[in-house]
Subunit: 280 residues, 2 copies
């Protein structure tokens, strides 16, 4: 079956449920577009893994996605963007977007005093990807980065609405409270699920940047400039997970506010080239 | 002299000084990039002119700009974007951006109740360009449009800080106060110079969208995806006007907060093809 370019889906991938924050923004800002989402829940979190491993996992998901009729790929995971954006771009012919550059751009737009903070997983922070993205565009920024390894497990385990979550967020962010930052990038797609706690911990004067919103704008921009926006009105999204479908569906329903159907897939681990075998 | 692609300038054009709001945002968000700005002050305002005339004028400016080493063109005028974006794209090989799509995208991101207002010149509002841009992306929006023909003369004549300006803005916007809009697009690049008066007239709950900020983000996105961001650190901007250099320089200094040098050019009127002769 041939599907015209504009009617193809947008592939969105993440280590787990965090990328659903991006998927939700894409649905909200581009309500005509169809989404195929893959959450690699079985191997989540990506944060503590080596760059090479994250790149291999990402390429495996991309290979699965490219077997579907797609017009763009969105890596809705900061760790995977830092590790694999370039590698994915080299392998596919459709536009590939990450979440780091849109977040950097939004922070540059928002900051008045040119002091910006970034929080993310260990992998994202150690990669220095945000500092690079920010300074690539704006040479006169001061950037403070902080790894928050406890945040992803908090979200994936469904504890985000608890008092414990508030306290962990508050305590973790203390080092950034001592800086002059006026803008803080949520450099992990799980973190918008903790945005209220982060805003409370940092104070109401700090601009909190969610990559999710900005990445959806950037996707809209790229699709339009390439003539790829659809005119359809009734998209049929699909959600895939490498883990158990049930807990994934529960978190997604909590986040979207309505039930979704989740399909389980298996991506067999392949060699370092990352593009060999898979079964599902 | 050959200039490498990334080191070329960004050409920004407007009917007058309004596009300086966009130029300022580009300088703020992309401080490495060089800008060549043309304000067609001698033929301002474009708002009441016919589509064909605005298209011809725009193409004349584009021809002048393309004689310079450029890597992108930004039509920083809503009237000219509505009339000539497509025609300019057909004639040049560099990326061409308008101000309408970025403003539409930002409104879609900002609105919660899906009721959006647009104010602009007569030409922009009559073209229906914003409604089209908004509905192209989001089919479920209610859009209220209002032409505000008094606003551009207010800004170009330097009266924007007066009580009269506040009153004109307040009275003009009354029809929109009766709607449920939660987001208002400043659909003319002169209007950010009246943003405070507009916010006061509409109330603090309404999101005021400046195309300027969003267009700079979109330019950043397109340049990056095409590998065109520069690594230079000391850009040398140039400002051209078809009118008197002195009043242009005064308004620009008022807006930028520092003096700029303005060069006067003459674009001779040519035939409808718009790409014949010019002298300066």
């Amino acid at each position: 079956m041939t599907v015209s370019a504009t009617e193809r889906a947008i592939g969105i991938l993440d280590s787990g449920v965090g990328g659903l924050t991006v998927a939700r923004e894409v649905m909200r800002q581009l309500p005509r577009e169809t989404i195929y989402y893959v959450g690699d829940t079985a191997r989540c979190p990506y944060g503590p893994r080596s760059t090479e491993e994250v790149r291999r996992y990402t390429l495996e998901i991309v290979e699965f996605l490219m077997s579907q009729p797609l017009k763009a790929i969105l890596i809705a995971c900061n760790t995977a963007t830092a590790a694999a954006l370039q590698a994915v771009r080299e392998r596919v012919s459709v536009p590939v977007l990450g979440v780091i550059d849109p977040g950097a751009r939004a922070a540059i737009k928002a900051t008045q005093n040119h002091v910006v903070g970034v929080i993310g997983t260990q992998g994202t922070i150690e990669s220095g990807a945000y500092e690079q993205a920010l300074r690539r565009i704006h040479p006169h920024l001061t950037v403070h980065s902080l790894a928050c390894p406890a945040f992803v497990p908090l979200v994936e385990s469904g504890y985000r609405h608890t008092e414990l979550a508030d306290r962990i967020v508050h305590d973790t962010l203390q080092p950034l409270k001592k800086t002059e930052l006026d803008t803080l990038i949520l450099g992990c797609t799980h973190y918008p699920l903790l945005a209220d706690a982060v805003q409370k911990a940092m104070g109401s004067d700090v601009n909190i940047i969610s990559s999710a919103e900005e990445t959806a704008v950037e996707l809209s921009t790229i699709l339009q400039h390439q003539g790829l926006l659809t005119m359809m009105k009734a998209p049929r999204h699909r959600f895939f997970t490498t883990g158990e479908a049930e807990p994934f569906a529960q978190i997604a329903e909590d986040w979207f506010g309505y039930p979704i159907e989740v399909e389980q897939i298996a991506l067999s681990e392949s060699d370092a080239a990352g593009l060999k075998t898979q079964t599902w």
